[in-house]
Structure formats: C-alpha cells, structure tokens
Symmetry: C2
Subunit: 328 residues, 2 copies
Amino acid sequence: VKIAVIGAGGWGTALAKILSEKGLEVVLWCREEDVRNAIADRGENHRFLPGIPLPAGLKTTGSLEGAAGDSEVLLLAVPSPYLRSVASELAPWARGVANVVSATKGLEETTHFRMSEVISQIFEGVVPVVLSGPTFAREVALGEPTALVAASASFEGAREIQARFSTPSFRVYTNDDVLGVELGGALKNVIALAVGVATGLGLGHNPKAALMTRGLAEIARLVSAMGGKRETLFGLAGMGDLVLTCTGHLSRNRQVGIELGKGRPLEDVLSGMEQVAEGVRTTHAAVALSKEHGVEMPIVIQMERLLRGETTAEDVMRELMTRPLKPE
Amino acid sequence: VKIAVIGAGGWGTALAKILSEKGLEVVLWCREEDVRNAIADRGENHRFLPGIPLPAGLKTTGSLEGAAGDSEVLLLAVPSPYLRSVASELAPWARGVANVVSATKGLEETTHFRMSEVISQIFEGVVPVVLSGPTFAREVALGEPTALVAASASFEGAREIQARFSTPSFRVYTNDDVLGVELGGALKNVIALAVGVATGLGLGHNPKAALMTRGLAEIARLVSAMGGKRETLFGLAGMGDLVLTCTGHLSRNRQVGIELGKGRPLEDVLSGMEQVAEGVRTTHAAVALSKEHGVEMPIVIQMERLLRGETTAEDVMRELMTRPLKPE
C-alpha cells in the first residue's frame, strides 16, 4: 500500500514517520522547499518537528501529482484554511485512491463546512475517514502511547484505516459519528480560549475544570441538535482532545485567551501573532451554528462577546456563574 | 435555617465558611480539639485550611449533640472510613433534620456501599443529597468560581440544597443520578493512580489524555450496568472531578501512581505515607464491582495487578495499548 501524506507540518510529518516505520510506502508532500530539502538531505523537519530523526524510507515531493499518482490512501494534513484549495489541485491526480483521510481539524471559515464535507465535495464518490483525538504531533513522532479515532460513515473505511495505521504505540478506535468527531476537534478551541481567559484572570483549578466540563456539554448539545451523537464528545475526539488542549503545552488558543483575560483587546493580542488562533474563527462559526440549530451555548456566546470587545473578562465569568440555577 | 457541618477537614471547613458568609447559621463539628480551639480563638483552621480567615459568625463544637441538636440540615464531611461511625453517633440527636447532605467521596471498604447508602441505612426515612464535583477545598474557601452538583433521589431535596448553598461563586446544579455521581467521585481516584503511573514512567500528555478518556469510559460502563446514567460521568461529578484530580495539584493518589510508575513496590510507597491513598482501596472495590456486574474495565484491572505486584508499570501500558482493536 502506498500512502501520500499531504502537508508536512508537525502532524503530517509525525504521521508520515510512524506509517513509514510501520513498513508502508509513504510519500510526504511538502509545500515549503526548505522543509522538503531538510527532510531529504538530513532526515529532519527542522521547522515543524525539530530534532526528531525521520526514517530513511520516507520520500518527499513538491508535486501533488507525484504524491497522488499511484497512492491508494491520501492523508490530508494541511491547515484548514488551505484544505479546499489543496484538495482541489490534488483531486485530478487521485483516480486510483481507495481512502481519503482527513487529519485536519477546523471548520471552513465562510461556509462552516467540516473538513470531511469539503473532501466529499471535491472527491466524488469518496467516503472520507477522519482521524482525531488527543495527539500532540511531537509526542506521536516520539512514540508516546497515543489513542485516537478513525471516524467514517463507511464502517469498512474506518476499519481499513484502523488496521493500516495502528501500531503498538498508536491505538486507533473506529467511530461512525463523523459530525461529532469533527465538531469536537474544532470547537474545543473555543473552550481552550475560555480556559485561557480564566488563567489570565488568575483563577484556579476549580473554575477551569468547570469551564471544560460545561463547555464540552455545550458542544455535545450542539452536536446532538445537528444529528450527531452526544456520546462522541465524551470520547477521545471530544473530552480527550479538550483535556489535552486545555492542560497540555500552552496552545495559541489558550495564549490568546490568557491575554484577553489580562484585559488586552483582541486586535492588540493578534497583532503580535503570525497566525490567527483557530479558536477565534471557530468561535464565530460556533455562534452561527448554535443560532441555526437553536442550541443554548452560554460559554461560546460569552467568548464571542469578549472577542468583539462587548464585555470584559471579569463580566464573562460573572455572567456564567450567575445564570439561573438548573439541573446539570 | 441552622446547618451543622460535621467534619472540619479542608472541605468541611470551606463549606462551613461559605455557608456562614451567606448568612446561614452554621455550626462546625471538629473532632480535633486543637483545630476547634484555633477556629474559635484565631478564626483559622491552621491544620487543614491554613492562612484563610474564617467568619466570626462560624460556631464550632466538639459535641455531636450540640451540632445536631436543632439543625435542619446536616452536612457530613468526614473521611469515608469514619462516615458510618460518626453518622451512627449523630443519628439519635438528629430528629428534626430535614436534609442530610454527603460531601464525602469514597466507597465503604468492606461492603462497597456508597456514602449515601450508608446514610440511608442510619437515618431512617431520610433521602440524602450528595454534593460532588471539581472542588478543591482551598479554592472554594478563597471564593474561586466553582461548579458542582447536588444529587438526590428526591428532586425537592436536591432543589432545596441548590437554593440554600448556591452563591455567585458557588454554582450548584441539581442531578437525579446519585449512583453515577458517587461512583464518579470515588472511582476517579483509580484513574488518577493510572495517570500517576504514566507520569512516573516519564510519559507525555497524549497517553495521559487517553487514560483519562478511556478510564472515564470504563467508569461510565460500570455505572450504566449498575443502573445509573452514563451521562452523569461526563458532567461535573465525573469528567470535571477527574480532570481536576488528574491535572490540578498533585494528589496523594497521583503521587502513589508516580512512585509505582518509577518501579517502587506498593509497600515501599505506602510506608512513607500517613494515610493510605483512597485510590488504592477504591481499585479493589472497582474490580469487585466490575466482576459482579460483568463490565470490562481494563485500566482498573491493570491497576489492581500493579498494586498487587503481579505486573510492572511498563507492562501495564503495553497491555493497555495492545488490546484487540475496537470501536470506541
């Protein structure tokens, strides 16, 4: 089986590494020439996975045609804003493909499409598989024990990816709720923002645990209203990824939240950053979806008001704590 | 309304403090004379909540009769091994009591009864209310925003406690699944042990997030088999408390796990500790319950084997990662 991994960021490179080490024939498409050369010449992705030796058998290419040519599995790991354009360029070369796998988290900015929806629109007749879960790329590359899900409307597709990708340190569970898995992976960033705000306010562990739990409950309500399963959110692609993002290494989303919590306005915070934090865009998407589906999402709403400068971090916490008392 | 808080550890004292500050008449039963004197003379529980000024209106007593005499609400916050004996001594004085609230987490060692079951056995005709959630006592005492549940088979009882105990920084949700709430609060300590083991092995964030997620799924399966609601485990008394225990300040349970992860045998680890970590006893209870109800709980089983010295920390992780591949 030949696998083309599209995108040589940290996550794409880590996946390419473990699949290549498993003995699969892997070609990694790198847009950036310097990354491509570093991997080819020195066996290292110095920009996105520095210090980690990559296997000699891992091939790279700068050509989508070269990557997709005779591959049976396409694994897309480009950032969400580029997925549609890259997939569109890729599709004409991907005639013999059996599985298209999305390892990209996020929603399309203007349409709020999930990544697997974008893929379905571009690759006709393909039932995509989504990989998601608590997976810091660097830890996967280092062989840390990692568990995640392969979700697909095709049970066979999910099973194939499970069998092909699993290793003794990379444990893949199948899941049939693609919508729940993808919304979990995208919307957790809004909760990470909120946990950052609590940190910026100098708050402790109790409020952060409450934000994570009640935040995940909001996302689960939305998923359920949209036809997915609440239960998915309490699995690896929901709770697992949320806990990782909110308590692991400091993410860009939490960092933005911390600065907002300290009282800095959003423009100020973003002006010092190369990329907009995913959670900022996702907050607006989440608000739109909550309105469209008539779901109450108080944390998401408060985060949007804070991002818009319509409230303060202190007021956000006060509003959340003093809502009418309810059943859980 | 007069409230008797039974037990002046950190949690009982913190609850007594916020209820007294809310304007309720609170009497705190302290077994230890030095603690009682310190609270009465200096307004400080120097042993369990050092440095936090307690309200002048907070009364203390060393007599269970004096505490229970004319109280309408009894709030039990003694450690689980003492709950039955303290409650038994208390019961004869508690004739006029409207609500008995358990703030104690854990299962009775020999019987595996939940704390609310013990209370029901001792206080005839009482429908207990259980308080549980992600609540570090010190943070509650400091006024950190905290969310938790009041669970009871009596909707009215849960509502009453919600109304009486809630403040702008202490947000109480009602819940009707007492079993799920209590098993969540008790069994989370087994997962905290497991996360400690991963830490002791030097593992990263991915495996810890996986252990928390899959560990909670095990507990949810057990609760469901016992007649409770899976969903409860994904709320404040389940996920919330689990995340707090596994990622907040280092708990005794995680500490024991860390030492086991480093390869020290259990006797060694426990010989240096004043109290047995709750998670050690709870692991045996969880294994017994899983067998009784026919529920697969691989993490719990591996933890028991490790506690018994029948396996090594490395083998625990290997066993967990290489089980047959499955749906999530």
